[in-house]
């Protein structure tokens, strides 16, 4: 009798899960496995079926200078966006959490980029970067008399210009998580430290920042995933150019698979991205694990 009841509970649990799992497997797990399988085959063209070619795609990837370039770009993009946007997010949250003149306006200003489509804000920023005519050139021209600069057309500055837009877009989003965390820190801790004569900086360094560590871990994982996922603005701002100077890995996958229609090579590049994401998530977990103080 007891066993029978347990089995009914099992079946109910499985049945409740079934619809979600069907979709989850159909569009996440099975495609992930198929991506790995397809990376060992050639791209089917017309009547020509895909055939097993072993590691050929991987050999091509290793020898592909564009692959290394976009990988390097992505690393630079991650290094450029993550520390700055997370740092700004902490500062923003500290400001907005205190009594501040016009606090609700300031908070709104920081958060607004989060609700705007990245593709739409790219249009606005495109104008800012326009040589001669755009806002940046007008400001630098009026203040320092600099000549017109083509930020997006120059391989040295194109990726940095994209990093600036990304930081602007992301910082306010991360601020929200810090704001939530700050509000859960008991005020008595801060008061006790103030009685002991601790200054603002000491309080932040010794009390607030360590207590924010779990949030920082969460935000950093998000930021790392985003640094591989956010490519929308590239389509408008530079289209990966000039000479792939501002292309990121996901953008390159798009180009290979949907502009050149080399789906097998696209799958191979996707495998590289998947491996990279897993490695980063695991290593991040271990690095932070030692420093995170859970309550």
């Amino acid at each position: 009798m007891r066993g029978l009841i347990f089995r009914r509970e099992w079946i109910t649990g499985w049945l409740l899960l079934l619809p979600a799992l069907v979709f989850l497997f159909a569009f996440t797990h099975i495609p992930a496995v198929m991506t790995i399988l397809n990376s060992f085959f050639s791209t089917p063209r017309g009547r020509r079926q895909a055939k097993f070619i072993g590691l050929d795609n991987y050999e091509r990837m290793i020898g592909d200078p564009v692959f290394w370039k976009v990988l390097w770009n992505n690393l630079w993009f991650a290094l450029g966006t993550i520390p700055v946007s997370v740092g700004l997010a902490i500062v923003m949250a500290l400001w907005v959490n205190e009594k501040l003149l016009g606090r609700s306006f300031v908070r709104m200003a920081y958060f607004t980029p989060t609700v705007l489509p990245l593709i739409a804000v790219a249009n606005i920023w495109l104008f800012f970067y326009t040589p001669g005519f755009g806002l940046f050139d007008q400001i630098t021209g009026a203040l320092f008399g600099w000549p017109a600069t083509n930020y997006l057309g120059n391989p040295d500055t194109a990726l940095n210009a994209i990093i600036v837009v990304t930081v602007w877009k992301e910082a306010g989003f991360f601020m929200i998580f810090y704001l939530a965390a700050l509000q859960s820190i008991p005020i008595t801790l801060k008061e006790a430290a103030q009685i002991e004569g601790a200054g603002r900086w000491t309080i932040f360094r010794r009390i607030t920042f360590p207590l924010l560590m779990p949030t920082t871990l969460f935000v950093c994982i998000n930021a790392v995933i985003n640094s591989f996922r956010l490519v929308d603005h590239i389509f408008i701002l530079t289209d990966g150019g000039p000479d792939n100077a501002s292309a990121l890995l996901l953008f390159y996958i798009y180009e290979v698979a949907f502009r050149f229609w080399e789906t097998a090579y696209g799958a191979t590049l996707t495998v590289a991205l998947l491996i990279l994401l897993c490695l980063l998530a695991i290593s991040q977990f271990f690095i932070f694990d030692r420093k995170v103080h859970y309550k």
């Binding site: 495609p31 991506t35 003149l101 200003a109 606005i124 104008f127 989003f173």
Partner: protein, 273 residues
Amino acid sequence: MSGLATHLDRFLNVFAAWVLALIWVLPLVYAVWTAFHPAAYEARFELFAPLTLENFVKAWDAAPFARYFLNTFILVTMILAGQFFLCTLAAYAFARFVFPGRNILFALVLLQLLVMPDILMVENYQTMRLLHLVDTIPAIALPYIASGFGIFLLRQTFMTVPKELDEAARIEGASFLTVLWKVYIPLAKPTYLAYGLVSVSHHWNNFLWPLIVTNSVETRPVTVGLSVFSAIDSGVEWSVINAATLMTSGPLLIAFLLFQRQFVQSFMRAGIK
């Protein structure tokens, strides 16, 4: 610290916070400026420049934005309805039922937080071709409907519901689905609101996957429509592009400004794990 230094410190903080805030709204303010002024004032900032709605009219006439808006609306509704349905059932199973394989399945659900459908676009496109769904709105929606994030969020909420409530309802003879409907879902309303806002704003703004899987006016959401519209860059004026840009983000932006507190709190709630 002396009184003067404290005051100075305070002043500098407020000042810096405001400077950053102004920089942060500048792009939006600029877009509003150009959209509401004639093209001649694109880069000339005069206080009494004449206002106009001409740019919006031009943008609206130049591309089928009404259809794009309808597509986005259908898409966002479809995704949200699907997510609420599937995630609720799955979260209920994970929160209150004991069955073999529960932990492994939950780990597989969480894996989706790392490997998002966007990353698997090459393979998902093949699937859509196989299902003959390329260039349809369901094709944009399907990969996102079973959301690992949604399942996780609802499971956390359902686990905070007191077991006594659940048991009391069952003793009175309610089936497990009635309990879910009458006890769990009403208590999780704030989570649904939070998740709903996050989901709607995410999919309203989504671009890459819709770009790949659609190629006609009848299916394109506004983000893809906007990119198609502004890609014909030579002929279109900046002010018109900015008007179109504002239009596409408009509904979400207005909703955000009206319900600012709920938005911020929702994102906060969704972020606390």
